[in-house]
């Protein structure tokens, strides 16, 4: 069963008129999570009602902050002081965060009520949430299908109406792809727009925290709260580091060659062409662009990401925190802790990353991928002199069945073919619901992806809202 989906704006209106209270909303959300058939959550926090009471008191005192009393879900790889954060992994099964992520501190200051932690592929490695070491999350539109991943729990939670919004993280598409599969909006901000302090690291040059919401305005609202420079993350940028959009967007580019991808579903292609017509109706000029380097983004990604994974996950050695096996010497303890604590996909990427960084192969793989990345970054800079945004489908096909791709890693990786470019290029991208396609007995959601220049999130919001309000 799907619960009623409400936007943050609706909820805030009801709160301000006294039609409901934060406590009432929190109770409804907890109840919905209790009855949830999609297994979106790994757990709810024990102090939810206390948080909601505080929010109601703040409102009674006349405080006006932009999320006061709004229930939110948090991906299991974002730290909240005193609460479990396992990144979907056995190696962090009982890990309790000693500090909060900057994004969390900002949400708390804005009055959000954090209800629980959502399921994810282990350490955010996957496109289906099947790689969680705890449970398989189901798609709210079809329980036999995946919600996408790695932020599959957050997408199912919003898509299933359990919470009005959630945080996810996106390293190669992990917010946008599940958003597309679950019929919600998902934003991957510019690299450096949102602090990564307190986000459990996967690929540090690619990771960004982003919101999943029921409409573009809500994504914008959360983005405005969580973004901004942070003294605890040197990769966050200042207000004047990049230009801001000067004019309202007019011209949108289509990278035609990328759409010739073999795996592109016919229904997705039709839906995409309809979306282009809608953008034209909304007054945008659609033009074909050439971006050959974008076609190699997935190849760059599967060198750079595992290389960073192998470095970042070196810290899970059983010494200072997390799982530790009982062994007689330290080396054996390291290799056994990691053998028992990591699942198969994490092991695969650790080994791949170690290989591409190892002596004799570093130049051929890692250094070559970094140079290719430079070429793509330059290509994005050039193309955004010609067009305000780039548009593609978010995914090559609608949600697939649970178990369909879990045996073939390369097949799973191809899920990211349209989304990884934005992570490699460090540019912002958003997925917006673009209608549904009938598959077997169900209507499955599809998503439209818009990509803009660095720090041009406003362009995405403007086009996104126009797209939402154009009659299909």
């Amino acid at each position: 069963m799907q619960h009623s989906k409400q936007t943050i704006e609706d909820i805030l209106t009801q709160l301000s008129t006294g039609e409901t209270t934060a406590v009432e909303l929190a109770k409804l959300s907890l109840q919905a999570i209790e009855n949830d058939e999609t297994a979106a959550f790994l757990g709810t926090y024990e102090d939810v009602l206390d948080q909601a009471k505080v929010a109601d008191m703040r409102r009674a005192d006349g405080e006006k902050v932009s999320l006061l009393g709004v229930p939110l879900a948090i991906k299991d790889n974002i730290l909240i002081e005193g609460k479990t954060a396992s990144a979907g992994s056995q190696i962090l099964k009982d890990y309790v965060a000693p500090y909060s992520a900057t994004a969390i501190e900002k949400l708390q200051a804005a009055g959000a009520v954090l209800v629980g932690r959502t399921n994810m592929d282990e350490f955010a490695m996957g496109s289906s949430t099947e790689h969680s070491s705890y449970q398989v999350t189901k798609n709210p539109y079809d329980k036999e299908r995946v919600p996408g991943g790695s932020s599959g729990g957050s997408a199912a939670a919003v898509g299933g109406g359990l919470v009005p919004a959630a945080l996810g993280s996106d390293t190669g598409g992990s917010v946008r792809q599940p958003a597309s599969f679950c019929g919600v909006v998902g934003l991957k901000p510019t690299y450096g727009a949102v602090s990564r302090h307190g986000l459990i690291a996967m690929g540090s040059s690619l990771d960004q925290i982003g919101p999943l919401t029921n409409n573009v305005a809500d994504a914008e609202r959360i983005y405005n709260i969580i973004s901004g420079p942070d003294k605890r993350d040197s990769t966050t940028y200042q207000k004047d580091t990049y230009s801001s959009p000067k004019n309202t967007p007019k011209k949108i580019g289509v990278p035609r060659q990328l759409l010739e991808t073999d795996g592109l579903d016919v229904a997705v292609k039709e839906n995409f062409n309809e979306s282009l017509e809608m953008l034209k109706l909304a007054g945008y000029e659609i033009t074909d662009i050439k971006l050959p380097a974008l076609q190699e983004a997935l190849a760059m990604y599967y060198i750079i990401m595992p290389a960073e994974v192998s470095s970042n996950l070196a810290r899970y050695d059983g010494v200072a925190y997390g799982l530790r096996t009982d062994d007689d010497d330290l080396f054996t303890q390291y290799i056994h802790t990691r053998r028992d604590g990591f699942g198969p996909e994490v092991k695969r990427r650790l080994l791949l990353g170690t290989y591409v960084l190892s002596a004799g192969y570093y130049d051929a793989y890692y250094r070559t991928a970094v140079r290719a990345r430079q070429v793509l970054e330059a290509a994005f800079r050039d193309v955004f002199k010609e067009v305000d945004a780039i548009v593609t489908p978010t995914t090559p096909a609608p949600a697939f069945k649970i178990g369909d791709k879990s045996d073939d890693p390369l097949e799973m990786y191809l899920q990211d073919v349209f989304t990884v470019g934005a992570n490699i290029g460090g540019v912002p991208a958003i997925s917006i619901p673009s209608g549904t396609v009938a598959v077997e007995a169900n209507n499955l959601p599809l998503g439209l992806q818009l990509v803009a220049a660095k720090n041009h999130e406003q362009t995405l919001f403007t086009i996104g809202k126009d797209f939402e309000s154009t009659e299909r």
Binding site: P98, K231, M300, A320, I335, R339, K347, V356, V375
Partner: protein, 94 residues
């Protein structure tokens, strides 16, 4: 180049034990992935010399340290094994 994947050797570098039954499959997976990613070469040849990005360090200078022990208890709470003096206990290294 990637036809000689030695999983045992990489696993040792990665500080992880891989079950022998999984070695062959992992070697196949990694070989497949490496053959897919090989195409980055085409693009890399167009790269100019690397440039530093516009983002600058914002971390504080390493001065005015906090009080010793201020965060110790909170951090040690997560350690698998701790002795009475606040040290993390590990098995013998040598």
């Amino acid at each position: 180049m990637s036809d000689d994947i030695n999983i045992k050797k990489i696993a040792k570098l990665a500080r992880i034990e891989i079950n022998e039954t999984d070695e062959a499959e992992l070697a196949t997976n990694i070989t497949d992935i490496l053959s897919y990613v090989g195409s980055v070469k085409k693009v890399a040849d167009e790269a100019g010399s690397p440039e530093a990005g516009p983002v600058r360090n914002v971390l504080r200078e390493d001065t005015d340290p906090h009080e010793p022990g201020e965060y110790r208890d909170a951090l040690l709470r997560e350690a698998p094994s701790v002795d009475g003096d606040g040290y993390i206990v590990v098995p013998p290294i040598l």
